[in-house]
């Protein structure tokens, strides 16, 4: 497809600021629930434990979404994708969510650095002294190195998210096609950095909650979960923005269809990774590995596991497969919200059983939901703030024309 030299004349620039102050107010309003969760945690029995794990779960739920967005942005540049240009800027905004999240995760790192073992057993010298395995793993699992790695991970992600957003925004101004080529060249090494940091972050922050257990596929499991979360989030935001009149012209049913296809595909990918992890552990039947699934079959966690198998995979696989579901904005919106909730349950299932609490309880879920909404409020507010006055679409991308003309058939 040929590109027109200056598409800016034809397309009016929209910004998220046109939504008015309401979204920001709602987001900040929601963030007060974080305090509610904290108070609930303080008041109830084992409350601090509930709150700490819920907080970790909430931040890493939103982190998975932002990391999914970062991956999407880079892979689009790397593959010279044309179709996705109209929705790439929105993905760049979502990827910027790593900045508020870096601040939100900081307390977890500080608490660990102070030697508190509420989340991580290996943070306290007393636990290490009592456990041979923790001693053996101490060169890696120690709070100092943990804090350094936190800086590396979030530093890398913030750098990548800002780099791809800033270059893309710069192109809005000067329309220089060289920037597209530059981003294409940079996205390869960037993806390498991304995959290493993501895998190790998943291992450090979630897998290390149980330092005795290990799974080599854990990083990619978190990655798969994140992509499901991101495509759900993308579909929800696109449909919301279209309903508010932003992106209504450029983003057509065809684009929504493709986002739906990717959401469906990565949901299957998630299931594939999940069964790959389960199958090997189940088949080898070694106690030190099966302990992970044993925890998740007892004290009500079995129900949550089944919800994941049936709700996260089987139901969407059967009902979301149809073309009609993905081409109908209302149906797509439903499935996106549904799978976002399922992604939340997935991270809940990964994190919460590690808390030394007896099974799933209503109190735990209540604290967790409040915490998630609270963290989510800050997360969305941060994204809105960082998006600022930038256009919601890369208006002078050389492949914009191709994206505007995109047809599935």
């Amino acid at each position: 497809m040929q590109t027109s030299p200056d598409t800016k004349n034809k397309i009016t620039v929209h910004t998220l600021a046109e939504l008015g102050p309401l979204p920001m107010k709602v987001a900040l309003g929601c963030s007060t629930l974080l305090l509610v969760a904290f108070v609930l945690g303080v008041m109830s029995e084992n409350g601090m434990e509930k709150f700490a794990f819920s907080y970790l779960q909430s931040t890493f739920f939103f982190l998975s979404i932002s990391l999914g967005a970062l991956f999407f942005v880079m892979i689009q540049q790397l593959t010279r994708a044309g179709w996705s240009v109209v929705l790439r800027r929105l993905s760049e905004f979502i990827a910027m969510g790593v900045i508020p999240l870096a601040v939100l995760v900081l307390p977890i790192v500080l608490v660990t650095l102070a030697g508190n073992d509420i989340l991580y057993q290996w943070a306290s010298a007393k636990n290490i002294a009592a456990d041979h395995l923790l001693q053996a793993k101490a060169p890696y699992l120690n709070s100092g190195f943990f804090a350094v790695r936190y800086l590396i991970y979030f530093g890398s992600w913030i750098f990548l998210a800002r780099y791809f957003l800033n270059k893309s925004v710069a192109q809005d101004e000067n329309g220089d096609p060289e920037l597209t080529l530059l981003m294409e060249r940079r996205s390869g090494p960037a993806l390498l950095l991304y995959s290493f940091t993501l895998s190790f972050a998943a291992i450090d922050f979630i897998m290390a909650l149980d330092p005795h257990w290990f799974s080599t596929i854990f990083g990619i499991y978190y990655f798969a979960a994140g992509l499901v979360g991101f495509f759900s989030m993308l579909a929800i935001s696109l449909i919301y923005l279209r309903s508010k009149g932003l992106l209504k012209e450029p983003v057509t049913i065809e684009h929504l269809h493709d986002v739906g296809k990717l959401l469906f595909a990565f949901n299957c990918f998630w299931a594939y990774i999940a069964i790959s992890q389960y199958l090997l552990i189940w088949y080898a039947n070694i106690p030190e590995e099966t302990i992970f699934f044993l925890h998740r079959q007892e004290h009500g966690w079995g129900t949550v596991s089944l919800i994941l198998v049936i709700g996260h995979f089987a139901i969407p696989f059967v009902f979301f497969m149809s073309r009609w579901m993905k081409r109908n904005p209302k149906a797509l919106f439903f499935w996106a919200v549904y799978l976002l909730v399922m992604n939340w349950v997935d991270i809940f299932w990964l994190v919460m059983p590690n808390a030394k609490l007896e099974g799933v309880s209503f109190g735990m879920i209540l604290v967790d939901v409040c915490c998630t909404i609270g963290v989510g409020g800050l997360y969305v507010a941060g994204i809105l703030k960082l998006a600022g006055q930038n256009s919601v679409m890369p208006v002078r991308d050389p492949r914009l024309e191709e994206s505007l003309e995109f047809h599935n058939i």
Binding site: L279, Y283, E405, H407
Partner: protein, 470 residues
């Protein structure tokens, strides 16, 4: 031109009008023209473009493809075959228990089910697409048109089939001309059917001949015998350098592959001297330690020849003869028996006796002992019954527990018998851990008691239970 039809011989088929071909030089013109052809009600026609054209499906009025349904059906078939096959193979046709795992379980089935579903779905998609497009089509009469060659380069065509109900040479030609094409031409069927080139036929027959060779070789090898040893495809697996039990090796000076315990060491978990009653069934260790390891041998040592004779004149050999031959000379076995009798056996269980221990003993007894000794301990297990039925003569019937001799034996002695064996009974020490051996002794005692109990001592409730049991 029309006069040439006057040909005398009618043997050759006349060329037949197959349809019309309209040529356009840009995609939007083709789409506009297609819409008109569609609206005019033609059904058997097609468009030809050098690249996939967005919107042509709609312009031609092509119905949504049924391919997804074919793919879904193939995928479901694959999944069903995979699950069915695995169930039939693993649970029905050749059940093979591996370390207590279930014969059929869903997680183990998932990889193959997934692969086969995907495979058949992909076949369905690929071959379904070919079939729906009527491919492969090696020849099309359109290929004869020189103009049509540019269909893969920069021209766009509409071809209209003469078999269409609405088709007529003149009307359709006029209609196509009204669409503003570059030109419209007719295309005709061939007078002679096209023939395959000779070289191709030769090459294909050669390939065919070569293809026969492997199955022919297989058939030949299968129907003949050979003196050559088999081919070892993976010699490293067939001849492993690892040492095996009961073999010799040059690696160690004594030539044994199985290594003895190192002098002055005790294997892990084998230190027994801190609890002699528990591990040996003795109050204290005797001076002569060799006695402990004695497994009492059969008192009547009959060599195989005698056994054969015995079998031959079985009718003569009546019951009275056998005991008469028994107490011949006080042989080695009798001496050992007396030495064993003198050992200081424990008479009480060296641990607290619990309900749990009894249950464990019952379970272990049924696993290890009942096959020969029978569920009730009368020495009538299934193996015994079968061996007696075969009349082999080498089988020594296991002792019943319900004789005064066995009843009088101290528990330590019973424990020793399980550990080291007696007569034909092998040692079970290596297989059954000490606590389980004691549990079995406990259950054995219970069996003995059950055969010799005064009805008056049984509580009324138990009696009722016994009466009701059928």
């Amino acid at each position: 031109m029309a006069t040439t039809i006057e040909q005398p011989e009618k043997t050759k088929a006349e060329p037949e009008l197959l349809g019309l071909l309209a040529e356009f030089d840009d995609p939007s013109a083709l789409i506009e023209a297609s819409k008109k052809v569609r609206d005019a009600g033609y059904r058997q026609w097609d468009t030809h473009t050098p690249f996939p054209l967005h919107g042509i499906d709609e312009a031609m009025g092509i119905k949504w493809t049924i391919l997804p349904w074919i793919v879904a059906a193939c995928g479901l078939t694959g999944g069903t075959i995979a699950v069915g096959m695995q169930y039939w193979m693993n649970a029905v046709d050749y059940p093979f228990l591996i370390s207590g795992k279930p014969l059929f379980s869903i997680p183990a089935c998932i990889p193959i089910t997934f692969e086969l579903s995907v495979l058949l779905a992909a076949f369905g998609a690929f071959f379904g697409m070919l079939a729906l497009n009527q491919l492969p089509k090696l020849y099309n009469p359109l290929f004869k048109s020189d103009a049509f060659r540019r269909a893969t380069n920069d021209r766009f065509f509409i071809s209209m089939d003469a078999r269409d109900a609405k088709f007529s040479e003149i009307d359709s030609g006029e209609f196509l001309n009204s669409l503003n094409p570059l030109n419209v031409e007719e295309f005709w069927s061939d007078v002679e059917s096209p023939k395959l080139p000779r070289n191709l036929i030769l090459a294909l027959s050669l390939v065919g001949v070569f293809l026969i060779i492997p199955p022919a070789l297989v058939a030949y090898k299968r129907s003949t015998t050979t003196n050559n040893p088999r081919i070892h495809i993976v010699p490293d697996m067939d001849f492993q350098p690892s040492l095996k039990a009961q073999n010799t090796t040059n690696l160690f000076p004594d030539g044994r592959e199985v290594r003895p315990n190192i002098e002055g060491t005790i294997p892990r978990g084998q230190y027994k001297d801190d609890n002699i009653p528990f591990f040996y069934g003795l109050q204290h260790l005797p001076e002569d330690q060799d006695v402990i390891g004695i497994a009492l041998q059969d008192e009547k040592k009959t060599d195989p020849k005698q056994a054969d004779e015995k079998k031959a004149d079985e009718k003569k050999a009546d019951a009275a003869k056998a005991p008469a031959a028994k107490p011949a000379v006080p042989d080695a076995a009798a001496i050992e028996a007396s030495r064993l009798d003198k050992l200081p056996w424990v008479t009480e269980f060296p641990m607290p006796v619990t309900e749990k221990m009894m249950a464990r003993g019952k379970e272990r007894y049924r696993i290890f002992c009942s096959a020969c000794h029978g569920l009730g301990g009368e020495g009538d297990g299934l193996v015994t019954l079968r061996a007696m039925g075969l009349l082999q003569g080498t089988w020594v019937k296991p002792a019943s527990y319900h004789t005064d001799n066995v009843r009088k034996l101290p528990v330590g002695r019973l424990y020793h018998t399980i550990t080291h064996g007696v007569r034909k009974m092998p040692a079970y020490g290596p297989q059954i851990p000490p606590e389980d051996r004691w549990a079995i002794v406990l259950y054995l005692r219970a069996l003995q008691k059950s055969h010799q109990i005064d009805a008056n001592t049984i509580p009324e409730a138990e009696k009722r239970k016994l009466r009701d049991t059928k």
